[in-house]
Symmetry: C2
Subunit: 566 residues, 2 copies
């Protein structure tokens, strides 16, 4: 008898459910719920462009709508399907997206006095109001607790937990004082489903804790009270009201509460997994394994890798985080990323591509891909740096910018487009090289996200640049599928699920298309990569010193060699 | 009684006449004649894109058509005007544009056996078939006659006299052997008018000889026979059939031949001046004087300066040529140039500017100028190198390429357009700095050419970058006007002309609009220029070595300072 699990994926503008067969990974049905609050689900402030909040009531509506929708569609897709065949629910969310809660674990903004106060809502991952607080945290940690920074790439972000809480204390003291505790929404939503909301009982995700809250067993959990009080007197008193333990997502948060079971028409025995972030569960849904890098490619990329916890692992400078268990239990989760990928291509198409390539951005992308595919590596003579939005890994520096070199009077838009694709490929290889340099081998890459499945030219270029196979995840909803994998694992084999995340992943996750590197292209890209690396280090690091005269010459040499008929 | 002179300007696709009042400089009339031969006047070869020749018969037709046209229009413009009031003719042409001639000075291609042979035609300035020969000349001179290179920027060009003659010897031996001599068309056309065509009597222009044929009194004229024979055995035997003297254009080549006087309805007493190149006569027509740089701005720029021959002048590394008398008698003519100016802007508009800026290139330029003018210096955060077509002065390197730095996800086309304008302004300042560094002061700049009169934004940016007034020539036909100035000088005051080029220039040449530097803009551009200079030296010279990390940071700092409200 087939068994099913539900992955719930809470994104920036909407949430979605995915109903998955635990034996085959078949995605029976799914349902999307756009958040009704604010503008496209975001509470914003015209006078403060850095502000981005969410209304947690949207999540509760979303749980109900998306699960009901998936069940209805599942019945249409499979006549034998029954809601009672559902044995588990997994949850992934954006993050760091913290929220202040009362002593019962309810959102402060559910209280009448705070209902219109953005500080009492969810501080969404992309909220950057706390940039000064982030700089203060980085500075203080660098002065007195350098170990806190060593696991997170050396710089604490305005997107993260402590920056936002400190910001709230600075600008909305009433909210800060009213908060019995703070939760990440990846912790809160599973707790809503189990009914165990109380802040001191709610099971915290090690993924959120380790990557965003500087939680690490090496220093007994969260940053110490002295550090917090040095940041802001009184902040230290929050520490005992937070948490001392954090859990991997193969732990069961509990079972579905009787209220939710009744509302959704599900069994109260349905297991609910501890939550985690979308990228990390998405990596599992894409087929992450030791030696396999998962790239989630969208406007930017999130790169996820795992390394057995039983083997030694040094700190890797420039990666965003190394957290034991943040992806899968028994492995270090390593997170890296590129600040601008799809965003750069979209900027180029929206800004600098004339209409002869197409009238809409879609047509233009298609026209650029067609003409750009006809070019050989090196043929345009162009080289770009992919820093229009700064550089996350390995430079961890937002104050960088884009660069294009090699233009002539004949340079065409599709040549620049291809150079931008290549720049992001070189940027990807810098990350791979850095991680391998610290002892973690990367044999292949699994790519997921919209660009990976849509942009065949980009994927072939990545294969040719890195000299590694580029595989595309079979599922187009890897975060939700990853959440479903964890649901199947916490449901357990007795209930018809699986014994472990590994077993569940093996059964449920697969690869679609694969791009293999072309040796001749790789050979040319090795030469271009050494020029990229020279530019990268010259413009991106304080240490580099040397000559640049070779760059234009070598680009012209390579161009001339490639263009010359054999 | 008003007296008139005619300036004849022989360009790449057409020639033109300008009928000018010698007392006031008033341009009474002009007439353009598009060359009938080939494609737009160019004899080309689909299988050899470097080839560009002209049919000298077009010049003869052009003399007749343009002078007759000007006289007819002059009569309509001024009822009192009579062809007998014309007292002189001056000639400027492109160059180096050499042509093989027979012992009577007639073009070899006028002979039946050579009439379709491109090697027997005019090797137009932009013909680049002789690039290998140019490299050979540079190499040999650098080995055994370094002094030959010291006056021409260190590199002999494929566009120049000896490269083309050597090429002819290499690939069309019959033509080379049949040639009694070779002439520049700026020497040949005045000779056609006077009827004194014989190669040993024809008066050679010191402008062409000195800038393009390595002619210099310091080594008794042209390169010695040993050098020529080392280039190619037998080439040395051509030397005695060429010339041992060269003349400034304030010399009279003669008077109009009876045949031409009759054909044109002019007096046979009309004086004909020795010819020179368009840029050099154009500089005179723009008002060149010591301390005044003339920039002729088109697809590229030609920069002309004069320095009294009585004062010492060192060689200036990187300038294209230093030739005594090439612009005006009694002065060194200094020639420099930028390889890409209008060409870069046109490339950008044709390639990367979307239709929302306008439907035609004209509308797009207008849209870019409007939006680009609203920006402050530094506001875009962008910096460009103006090397899409290589760099002539001061790097003398065709194997360079364009560069743009500072792009974000918000960068707009008009910001890039302005950065490209600024890049050419910085390039202009590099030339000014180099020349001043060698003791020649530049107090102001007079600009001419289409871009100078059309592009007010560019001219204001140049004033702000250089901190010097940018004046615009009153005439839009400065080469033809300059030729007319020389015509008035060789006609002499007794005939109603002038006693000297200086006196003629003072009477006939004027300034139109003037752009003055804005101190605050200049202050910001000083900072940007130091970054440009760093990039220029880093990418353009073998010697430079250092760090580049500051570039992106300083561009962002300047941008943030400029954007911040005061």
């Amino acid at each position: 008898m087939p068994r099913y699990v539900i992955g719930l994926d809470f994104g920036t503008n909407s949430c979605r459910s995915l109903l998955v067969d635990v034996t085959t990974g078949r995605e029976l049905a799914g349902h999307v719920f756009p958040y009704p609050s604010g503008k496209d689900g975001l509470i914003i402030d015209a006078s403060e462009p850095n502000l981005a909040r969410q209304n947690p009531a949207d999540y509760i509506l979303g749980i109900e709508e998306t699960i009901r929708g998936a069940i209805e569609k599942g019945k249409l897709a499979e006549s034998g399907f029954n809601a009672s065949d559902i044995i588990g629910i997994g949850v992934d969310t954006t993050g760091s997206s913290p929220m202040p809660v009362d002593e019962k674990g309810q959102a402060l903004c559910f209280q009448e006095r705070f209902k219109d106060n953005p500080a009492a809502m969810v501080w969404l991952w992309k909220d950057h109001t706390a940039y000064k607080e982030a700089a203060q945290i980085t500075q203080l940690a660098s002065d007195i607790r350098p170990q806190y920074l060593s696991k997170i790439g050396g710089v604490y972000s305005s997107e993260w937990w402590w920056s936002k809480i400190l910001r709230c204390k600075n600008i909305a003291r009433d909210v800060f004082d009213a908060a019995a505790g703070w939760v990440e929404i990846c912790d809160w939503i599973p707790a809503v489903l189990t009914g165990e909301l109380s802040p001191d009982k709610l099971m915290r995700s090690v993924c959120a804790a380790g990557h965003k809250a500087m939680f690490n067993p090496a220093w007994q959990g969260l940053p110490d009270a002295e550090f917090l009080d040095r940041l802001s007197p009184g902040l230290g008193s929050l520490r005992p009201r937070l948490y001392g333990r954090a859990y991997t997502a193969d732990n069961r948060a509990g079972t579905l509460s009787p209220e939710w079971a009744q509302k959704l028409g599900l069994s109260p025995s349905v297991a609910v997994a501890v939550g985690a972030f979308d990228a990390h569960m998405g990596a599992v849904g894409a087929g992450i394994a030791p030696g396999t890098l998962v790239k989630i490619i969208g406007t930017s990329t999130c790169d996820i890798l795992i390394h057995p916890s039983s083997q030694p692992l040094q700190d890797i400078p420039g990666v965003c985080g190394i957290v034991d268990g943040s992806v899968m239990s028994g492995y270090y989760g390593i997170e890296a990323g590129q600040s601008g990928v799809g965003d750069i291509f979209l900027w180029f198409v929206n800004t600098l591509v004339p209409e002869r390539y197409g009238r809409t951005p879609e047509e233009q992308f298609s026209g650029l891909e067609k003409t750009g595919s006809a070019l050989k590596p090196g043929e345009s003579g162009l080289l770009a740096l992919d820093w229009n939005n700064g550089n996350r890994t390995i430079l961890v520096d937002a104050r960088l910018s884009g660069l294009l070199i090699g233009q002539t009077l004949h340079t065409q838009p599709h040549e620049i487009y291809r150079a931008l694709l290549e720049a992001t490929g070189f940027g990807a290889l810098v990350i791979i090289d850095r991680i391998e340099q610290y002892g973690v081998r990367i044999r292949e890459v699994v790519n997921c996200g919209g660009l990976a499945s849509r942009n065949a030219l980009m994927m072939q270029i990545y294969a040719d640049i890195t000299g590694r196979p580029m595989k595309i995840s079979r599922s187009e909803q890897t975060p939700a599928l990853g959440a479903a994998v964890f649901a199947a694992a916490v449901a357990g084999s007795k209930a018809g699920g699986h014994d472990s995340v590994g077993a569940a992943q093996k059964a449920m996750v697969g690869i679609g298309r694969e791009y293999r590197p072309v040796a001749e292209n790789h050979r040319i890209y090795r030469r271009l990569y050494s020029l990229y690396r020279q530019m990268h280090d010259a413009f991106g690091t304080q240490e580099w010193s040397g000559r640049m005269f070779n760059i234009m010459k070598e680009l012209l040499d390579i161009r001339d060699e490639v263009r010359r008929p054999a």
